[in-house]
């Protein structure tokens, strides 16, 4: 091999080594970039999750202050018994969408329709989700016999736990009811297994079946003491209910 050929081979080898170095360095740089953007993405997703959870303040929240203040309650009804129209709500207190309605829509319905005397609300406790629904439903109806049903269901929704985890026990119910001024907790605990409570729950089930209700929350609306029809709402938002109620009551 001539000297010239040796030099040429050495030059080629040097160039190949340089190219390999460059490729390795580029790979390393891209991997570093990938690690950096992955770390950044993880942080950003964490922030999004925190913001997302920040909007859900239902757990342990206080009841809407003054929501029912000054409104008449009679058993399962809320508002003026002479109101021209009645809105009947069928709900399971373990149902998260019922809690959404309670938090997002009910204040609007109360302020804009019940307080002005246009609408009277009726609550029908359904218990299809499971044993905790039954416990909550019985206690709600028992408190309804003391005309405190509406404060209780509001508290129940705001403290909703994991479905059928057994969280609706005597301590839980007592803790909620003690927050209701004027409620006789011991009496409600004694009444929750009474025949009148069982009958009210059975009647709610029958009414729901008769109306073809298979999901909660569902609503019927119509003239007070007159025929009721399904309130069709597409979303659990105040505006959707305003439109549906306005259409139903003219």
């Amino acid at each position: 091999m001539s000297k010239k050929e040796r030099l040429e081979r050495m030059r080629q080898a040097r160039e190949e080594a340089e190219q390999a170095d460059q490729a390795a360095s580029a790979r390393k740089r891209r991997l570093q970039q990938l690690l950096a953007i992955t770390g950044f993405a993880v942080i950003l997703v964490g922030v999004l999750i925190v913001v997302s959870q920040g909007g859900d303040d239902s757990d342990g929240a206080e009841p809407v202050e003054g929501l029912f203040e000054g409104l008449a309650q009679d058993g399962a009804s809320l508002g003026d018994e002479k109101a021209p129209y009645t809105l009947v709500e069928f709900a399971d207190m373990q149902c998260p969408f019922c809690a959404d309605y309670d938090r997002d829509v009910l204040p609007t319905v109360v302020d804009e329709y019940v307080r002005p005397g246009q609408l009277r609300l009726e609550f029908r406790a359904l218990t299809f989700i499971g044993p905790d629904s039954e416990e909550a439903g019985r206690f709600a109806v028992a408190l309804g016999e003391q005309d405190h049903l509406w404060e209780f269901i509001d508290l129940m929704y705001r403290n909703q736990g994991t479905e059928n985890s057994g969280y609706v026990d005597t301590d839980f119910l007592t803790g909620l009811a003690e927050q209701i001024p004027g409620a006789d907790v011991d009496r409600a605990l004694a009444d929750q297994d009474s025949d009148s409570v069982s009958k009210a729950l059975e009647q709610a089930r029958n009414e729901a079946a008769k109306a073809g209700i298979s999901s909660t929350p569902s609503f019927l609306i119509g003239p007070t003491d007159g025929p009721l029809e399904t309130l069709e709402v597409s979303q659990l938002e105040p505006e959707a209910f305003r439109q549906a109620i306005d259409a139903a009551i003219g």
Partner: protein, 136 residues
């Protein structure tokens, strides 16, 4: 996978994502019921849940913005745009995973459109990362 194939896949997946998120955004603002194949009301439950909004902004609109931003990054041909696109796709992947967890564990309902978007975002993240790692 060649660079050309990665580009085409990224564009197709971005268009699919824009279509899905665009539909869900339209349904939200038009106050319509989501078409849920097979019924069951899962889409409606998810779309009306606590988690359908993020700081008052519909999650569907955020998704649409994310896909659109990835689309814009695909139009710019430099390394920085590739990194931005991959970052957006990874954020989308992480947030989609969180939303899917919420559907399964908290909301207890599955929205087929959300699942379709999550799958699209997963594939898109793989492709976008692939574009970053390619050395040719």
């Amino acid at each position: 996978m060649s660079a050309r194939a990665l580009e085409l896949a990224a564009r197709a997946l971005t268009l699919a994502g824009v279509a899905i998120a665009g539909y869900l955004t339209w349904v939200h603002y038009a106050d319509l019921e989501t078409v849920c194949v097979g019924g069951g009301g899962g889409c409606e439950r998810v779309q009306t849940s606590d988690y359908a909004d993020l700081a008052g902004i519909p999650v569907a609109l955020i998704g649409l913005g994310g896909y659109a931003a990835i689309g814009v990054s695909l139009l710019v041909r430099d390394e920085r745009a590739r990194l931005v696109g991959a970052t957006l796709a990874l954020v989308g992947l992480g947030f989609s995973a969180y939303l899917t967890y919420l559907e399964l564990a908290v909301i207890d309902a599955i929205c087929q459109w959300c699942v379709a978007s999550a799958m699209t975002m997963t594939l898109l993240a793989i492709v976008m990362v692939g574009r970053v790692l390619r050395t040719d």
